[in-house]
Symmetry: C2
Subunit: 250 residues, 2 copies
């Protein structure tokens, strides 16, 4: 008897930002696996087993899920945001590719979620209204030189840039180095937003510009959104909105 691995995007935090599909699936699982804070966010009946692992052990966690599915379990591998964006979906497919050949018999379904960048964008206005990119700033999984090269090309392309894993205690210098590089390529007055824990209790947004932006404005829960030279701030009675127009005049 073969089980099933569901790779699940929980959205950014608030249960309201889950999809109806995810909400309906969760209570039908036998096991839920993930990083502690994400697993703990899921409210399901007590008979569903929760397996909590450390944040760095993604590949082990993926293998664990596949082994449980081999025993016939319906396993949910949960990520915050969308599971396909710097999260567990790739880890599961890596584990299938390089693991026991029998892993290829296991059924897999991926359920999308609201990623951190779209949740942050909805709070800010419409910063991602034109061409954009997402870059993980962590050099745990790729060389720092590649990150710098990509940042420079992204700035030259005038993409709005969403930085994931932007601030870490283990590498506090990285974001400031990245911002210095962007200051070489882009106007200093473009908007930059530090978006912490969107839709969670400690949600906090700090709006600044490229000149003033500093790693001290963020922490491990912060997504950094850097506008393009076309992005704008507009003040209404409600708040300051950050948006990128749809059009570029030639």
């Amino acid at each position: 008897m073969s089980g099933h691995v569901y790779i699940i995007g929980l959205g950014p935090g608030e249960q309201n930002l889950q999809t109806i599909e995810v909400e309906a699936l969760l209570p039908t699982l036998t096991d839920i696996i993930g990083y502690g804070p994400y697993v703990n966010r899921v409210q399901v009946p007590a008979h569903i087993l929760k397996h909590i692992s450390d944040n760095r052990e993604e590949l082990d966690r993926a293998r664990h899920a596949l082994l449980l599915a081999q025993q016939g379990q319906r396993v949910g591998v949960v990520s915050s945001g969308d599971a396909g964006v710097f999260a567990m979906a790739s880890a599961v497919f890596e584990a299938i590719e390089h693991g026991d050949p029998s892993f290829k018999d296991i059924e897999v379904t991926v359920l999308p979620g609201i990623s951190a960048m779209f949740a942050a964008a909805s709070r800010l206005g419409a910063p991602l209204g034109h061409d954009f990119c997402a870059i993980s700033l962590s050099d745990n999984l790729k060389p720092w030189e590649i990150i710098l090269k990509r940042l420079r090309l992204a700035a030259q392309a005038d993409f709005v840039i969403a930085l994931y894993n932007a601030v870490s205690k283990a590498r506090p210098w990285q974001l400031d180095t990245a911002l210095d590089l962007l200051r070489e390529e882009l106007p200093l007055d473009i908007p930059v937003a530090f978006c912490q824990a969107i839709s969670r209790d400690n949600e906090h947004i700090e709006l600044t510009n490229l000149k003033e932006a500093s790693a001290s404005m963020g922490n491990m829960q912060t997504l950094v959104l850097i506008g393009s030279r076309y992005s704008k701030l507009i003040q209404t009675n409600q708040k300051i909105w950050f948006y990128t127009p749809r059009s570029i005049q030639s």
Copy 2:
């Protein structure tokens, strides 16, 4: 009395892929505005007025929504996918910025949705598992030279590339020109997916590679996902999965 404009991402099609938040909000509105196929997708009580407009009239539609809100209405402006990605959110903020000063008195809320690229990615596996970008191929709103420049820089940065508005009857040559440019920069065997109408009745995915990819494989409902040189295909008993590993070895 002042109303409220809600900018709503409906997700890619299937109601299951809406957020709980959007599902709860829709029946509380007085008016729903949008492009016909999106408005018609929304199932709400008959007393809620539906205003349908042509796909090209985004700014007019945004103004219409703001005028209704000024009269005290609770207006939902609906887009497919996420409203912030090549959709109505930017149009609303443009209309606020350049319109009647009293538009700045209107309350606005943006509700994120599952964008087409994440819905497509979930069907394919995890193509967006590493750094990626989204580019609209339409030159209605920006010069074609900027599109080509961005494509080349994105390829040099080795982003996975999601192409929105990739195929249009009005500009059938554009996607083939874009693919020719990418063939100059990238290995010809990288995976390319043509993802049509994900989660709708006519959902269809065609998986090919950069060498074989051709505009004839898509239509106006197609999102094109182009892998990076690190992306892979793996065959399981279930299907062929397209994923991009989390790590790049130095």
